[in-house]
Structures are given as C-alpha cells and as structure tokens.
C-alpha cells in the first residue's frame, strides 16, 4: 500500500476516533477537547439551570422556553415563577393562566422554596411575611380568575307580573338552598373527616342549580339580579368543590372557607335587591320564603 494511502486512512481513523470520543463525551456532558483548547461549552448539562429562572434545562425543554433567557415571554416574571404559579411562560401576562389549575398549596410551597433558594426571598428580611402574603394573594387571585364566571346567554321574557312571579317561584328553591345549604346532604353518622367531604358534595347541588338557572326564562327587569345570582351559585360550586380537596390541597380549602364567609354579605345584598324589587313591582310570589322576607323587611 503506498504511503499516501496509508496516511489518508490514518487521517480518517483519527477523525473517526475523535468523532466517537466527541459523541460519547457530549452524552456525558463534558467537552474536554473544547475545554482543553479554551472554548466555552455550548451544550450545558440538562440538570442545571443555565439562566437561573427556576427551571432546569431539561424542564425548559419541556415548557419550550429559552434555556438561556430567564423570562422567555418578557412579561417581567421568570419562567420558573410562572410555571409554579400556574401561568404560561410563553404568553405575556396578565391573562396567561394555564388551563390546568394546579394544586394551590404546592404552588405556594414551590414559590416560597424557590424564592428562598434563589435568594429572592430572605427569611430574615422584615418584609418576608408580607412577601409570602403577596405571593398567596396573587395565587388566590389567579385561581379565582381561572374559575371566573362567564355570563351565559339567558332567555329573556317580557316583564309581565305573571312572568315575574313565576320567575320568583322558580328561583326560590335555589335561594333557600344558598342560605341554608350546609343543613342538607349531611348524614347523622358522619365523622369529622366525612363531614367536610360531604360538604363538598354540595357542589353537585349548586352545579345543578347553575344549570337550571342558566336555562330559566328571565323577565327583562330581573336580568342583573339573575346574573348576580348565577355568579353566587358559581362561586358556591367552586368553593364547595374546593372544600372536598382539603386533604390534598388544604390551602385551597382554606380560601374556600374564607370566601364562603365573604359570600354571606353578597347573598344578603342579593336578598335585599330581590325584596326591594318585589315591593317596587307590587308582586305577590307564592312561596313561604318571600312571605318571610316580607315580614322581615316590612
């Protein structure tokens, strides 16, 4: 074999060896040859967080975000923060909530731990408690936004006395359930744990009530009140559902309990509106609930 050919195959063999070495080396995350000659590695390890945004490079790959840009969508929030708080890291805020609402307790946990890890949150800082409060508030706000009530199309009828009285009769049962809901569906033999789960079962009642209300014919003059009622029923559904998740997501149950308390004043305001409209329009609805209201407000 002539020497020229030997040199050529020898050169090919060196290239082949170098290629094999490079492939194996890249798989193990090291690029010794480049390092050896002082060139920076352009393929970082998948388990490191190259841009310090709270997502590892592997996770960046999953979320399709830029592993070298801590804020891919440029909305001022780091990619990692957005993911753990249920926001889309590819879509600028504020309306960038992910469709799949995650566990609120875990979200807070992750945000706080991540914040402490990245030193954004410092436990010895005097604002530490209020920062955590703010994080919680944002998460709660986002959660309720994601569950917010979309006004359904309702069938409107004329405002005749008969239509109004029929409408009131049909809604009475739902309002009564709202006021005195916890009394129903609870078995006498329930233990403490079962009690909360049973309460969460009330959500089905409210879901049904919402469906019935959405399909109901509403007199013209009662449209606003009807939407208020739908909103409250929708909130009740969300809250009672959240109560059922108290074991897996205690924070969500806690905020649901708080909101049930807040709803109390909204319900009473609604009752006032209903009663004042009945008086204004000289209506005489056939249900014991309205007769009682008449006694209380007269």
């Amino acid at each position: 074999m002539p020497n020229k050919i030997k040199i050529f195959f020898g050169f090919l063999a060196v290239i082949a060896l170098f290629s094999v070495y490079s492939v194996f080396n890249s798989l193990s995350g090291k690029s010794a040859p480049f390092a050896a000659i002082g060139i920076q590695n352009t393929l970082p390890s998948p388990d490191t967080d190259a841009d310090h945004d709270g997502l590892t490079n592997r996770e960046e790959s999953y979320w399709n975000t830029d592993f070298q840009n801590p804020d891919t969508d440029g909305d001022g929030f780091k990619d990692g923060e957005e993911v753990v708080s249920g926001h889309d890291p590819l879509k600028p805020g504020p309306n960038d909530l992910l469709a799949n609402s995650a566990n609120l307790t875990e979200k807070i946990q992750n945000l706080v731990v991540g914040g402490i890890y990245s030193t954004d949150l410092k436990p010895d800082n005097k604002n530490f408690d209020s920062s955590i409060g703010n994080i919680s508030a944002v998460i709660v706000d986002d959660f309720y936004q994601s569950q917010s009530f979309q006004k359904p199309q309702i069938t409107l009828t004329n405002n005749s006395k008969e239509n109004q009285e029929l409408y009131l009769k049909n809604t009475a049962q739902i309002i009564k359930q709202l006021l005195l809901a916890p009394n129903n569906n609870i078995s006498a033999k329930a233990t403490g744990d079962q009690y909360i789960v049973l309460l969460s079962g009330l959500k089905n009642n409210f879901k049904d009530a919402y469906r019935d209300l959405a399909q109901m014919s509403v007199p013209n003059g009662w449209q606003e009140i009807h939407y208020n009622l739908l909103d409250i029923v929708n909130r009740s559904t969300v809250n009672y559902e959240s109560l059922g998740s108290y074991q897996t997501d205690p924070y969500r149950s806690y905020i649901a309990l708080e909101d049930i308390k807040n709803m109390d004043s909204d319900i009473k305001e609604l009752i006032k509106q209903v009663n004042s409209r009945i008086t204004q329009n000289h209506l005489n609805p056939d249900d014991n609930f309205y007769k009682l209201l008449n006694q209380l407000f007269k």
Binding site: K176, L180, N183, A188, A190, T191, K268, L292, Q295, F297
Partner: protein, 495 residues
Amino acid sequence: MDRVIKIYGKIARLRPSGFWPGFIVGLIYFSYIFRWYWPLYPLTNFGIESNVLSVVFILFMFSLSIAGTALFWGLFSFFILKATKKSSTFWIPLIAAGTFVFAEYAKAWGFGLLWLGNGSLLGPHWTLGNPAYLFVSWPFILRISSVWGIYGIDFLLIWTISIVYLLATGKYTASSRIFLLNLGLIIFIFFITIGLSTKSNEILTPNTIKISLIQTDDPAKFKFSADEVLDNYAKKIRMLKETAGAVDGGIVIFPESSNFSKTLLSFLDNNSAKNYFNRLSDKEFVIIDHNILQDQEGYKSKTLFINSKNGVSGFYDKQLLTPAGEYLPYILKLFFFALRKSVPIGENYELKAGTHSELLNYDNLPIKILVCSDVVSPGISSKNQYGLLVFLQNLSGFKGSKTIESQFLSMLRFRAAENGKYAVLASNFARSYVIDNSGNIVKSTDSSGYQILTADVVPNKERTWYNKLGDLPILLLSLAIFGLGLKNLRNAKQD
C-alpha cells in the same frame, strides 16, 4: 310480708353490713327518677343511627347514673347503722338527718364527677332526685326552702321519718320526754322558719313587668330541610310580631335553642337586623333569645339580651353544661372507644362552658338567666342579687316526656321559692309557666305547641335568707351532728 322482711334481713346482713339496704332502696328510687333517659331513644338526632347502639348507650348512662347516685344512699345507711349503735335515742333522728344531708350534698358533687369532661363545672350542682323535690306541692315546704334550702327540707324529712320509725318500733313512746323534746324542737324550728321567711314577702316592689313567653314546638333533628327551617322560623316571626305590640315595653322570651337571632342573620345583615327589631314596636322592649353560637373559644350555649332599639346589650353563656347533651364526658368517650365506634359529631357535643356573669340588666333590674340543666343547681340560682328568674328549656330531645318536664318544673318552683323571686319558664316542646315568689304556679300554657303566654311579674330585689347564706347554715348544723355521729362510731369501735 314475712317474706319481704326475711329478704330485707338477708340483705342487711350482707357485707359491708348496712350498705346494701340503702343502696338497693337508692337503686329502685333513682331508677324511677331517671326513667326520663328512655324517651331519648332512638338517638338518631344525637348522631347515633344504630338502634342497638342507642339502647346500649342509654342503658349504660342509665345504669351508671342510678348506681352512682344510689352509692351515696348506701354509704348513708352503712354509716347510720354503725353510728347509732351506741347513741342515745334522742340523737338518733338528728344523726340520721345530718348524715342524710351530707350524703345528698356529696351526691350532688358526685354526679358531676361521674360525668367529668371538658365542659364540666364541678360543685354541688346535680340535685336530681333530691327527696325535697317530691314535696313541691306543699306550700309550707316551699316556704321552708326560702330559709334552709332543699337540704333543710331533707333534714326535716329524715328527722321526722326517724322519729316515726322509733315510735313504730317502740323505742319512743308518745309520752316519752325524748319524743316530746324532738317534737318541740321541730315545732320551734318550724315557727322560726315561718318568721324568717315572711320578712322578704312583705317588701315587694309595686312595679310590674310585662312578660311574654313564646312557646315553640321545634322537634330535635340532626338536620332540617330549608323548608322546615323556614316554616318554623315564620311561626316565630309571626309570634314575635304579635307579641311585640302587646308586651308594652316589657320582655319577650324565646326558649332554649330557639336560634332566633342566628337564623335572622342568615337572611339579614347587621343593619337590616337592627332595623327589623326597631320596626317591631314603637316602644322599646327586650328580647331574650337563646342560640348555639361560636366565638374564639368554640361553640357556646349563649343567651342574648336584645334591646329592640339598641341591639344586643348583654349575653349569658351557660355554665352548667349537660353531660352527653352538651359535652361528651370522658367515660362516654371511653365507652365509644371500647366499642370501637367513632364519637358522634355535632356542635352540641363540644360546647364550652361560659365564664361570663349570668346576670342581665333590664332597666337597672338584674335578671338571672337559667338555661336547661342550670336549674338543677341551687348554688347557681342563689348566686348574686337579682329581681327575676328566667328559665329557658328545650325538651325536644326527650320527645315531650312528662317525667323530665315535671322534674324541671319542681326544681324551678324550688329555685323561685328559695330566692323569693318570680320565675318564668319559656319552653320548647313542653308547657311554659309563670311562677310567683313563693314557688306557686300563677299561669301556664294549656298544652305544648306554638303558643304565647303573657303575664305581669313582680320583680323583687329583696333577698331571702337562703339567697344570702345559701346552704351554709344547714351544712354547718349537719356537720356538727355528723361529727357527733363520728364520735359515737369511734366509741362503738373502742367498745
């Protein structure tokens, strides 16, 4: 008869000698007294759905109650048998009376210890089954109670019975000096008592207060449907409206567990609720309403004092909670644990006892509120100076049992007589009453069910001897005599 005497002789000889006759009589007597446990069956309203468990539970409570109370009668008979062996026949009736007072006083303490739990209030409160209550329809007995209380009546009762027994067995003769001395002492004490008790009756204020009792008929239920709540509430609203105008600035009283304010606040915000009360009448009047409400410490049996123009002006949190009804005693927790059953839940099972003053102010007149089991305690009623007793009860759990109704009524009549105060009883699921300051029934509803009972009552700020001194005089007297009995017992042992 011979057979009975023979059986009695055999029992009396059982060891510890003297204990069993008193204990067995106690078992029979307290089985009769505590028979109101049984109408509680079934216990579905209390969160126990199994009928078998209900029977076992009631049987356990019943047996423990009668055995726990009969024990003190057993100890009484045991002591008497020993202490009177070497006593002079003059002292025997007095030693028996003094010892019985101690046994009854210890029983009132012991019942509370038996049902110890988180909500317990320890003290000589549980006078259930005290023999004095059997004589409630005797006016002079009620009069005696204004000086000596129920233990004074127990003392006189056992003293008299012992004399009769000694006469019957021939140890006393009608002409013997000892008998005449005993009789003379009884008559002397009787006249002194009459003298002491008449004083307070003369100083009654001429002013009267119009009272309106709203009697309700709400059954006991673990849960009510929305329509049931509304129906019951609509009746209360109608009755309050009806009575607000007629009460003429007086007091409207709802029974225990009426939950009037609590339900009202399900419909109205605070301002609207205030307006509602304000609109009821042009004249200012007061509403006494009982609710199970939650505060920072937990659920409480709370009586609210609502001024129709100014809102809530005071409250009383019940102090003497009912075992098994308002808190679960340790022994019942153990019972459920032993049967591997979960403890039933319900806001009533873990009520917190109140510490707030139990007097409410009506136009500068202090009013004493008693709720349910509070009435069994003479000590709670005699505490503080006040002008009127208001008793709120709810017997729906007992499904209208006449036994418990009459026992509570007897106790209230005694509380009124002991303290020389008018007492009013607003009831759910039983009749309501107005009782004068001598313990006599002045007015009552004709049946249970939704009704309004109105009356003019005479508030009385003057205190009876019992209201001032409580059980102290009779306990000191009994202690002295009991000490004499102990001395005799020691002498008997030495001989």
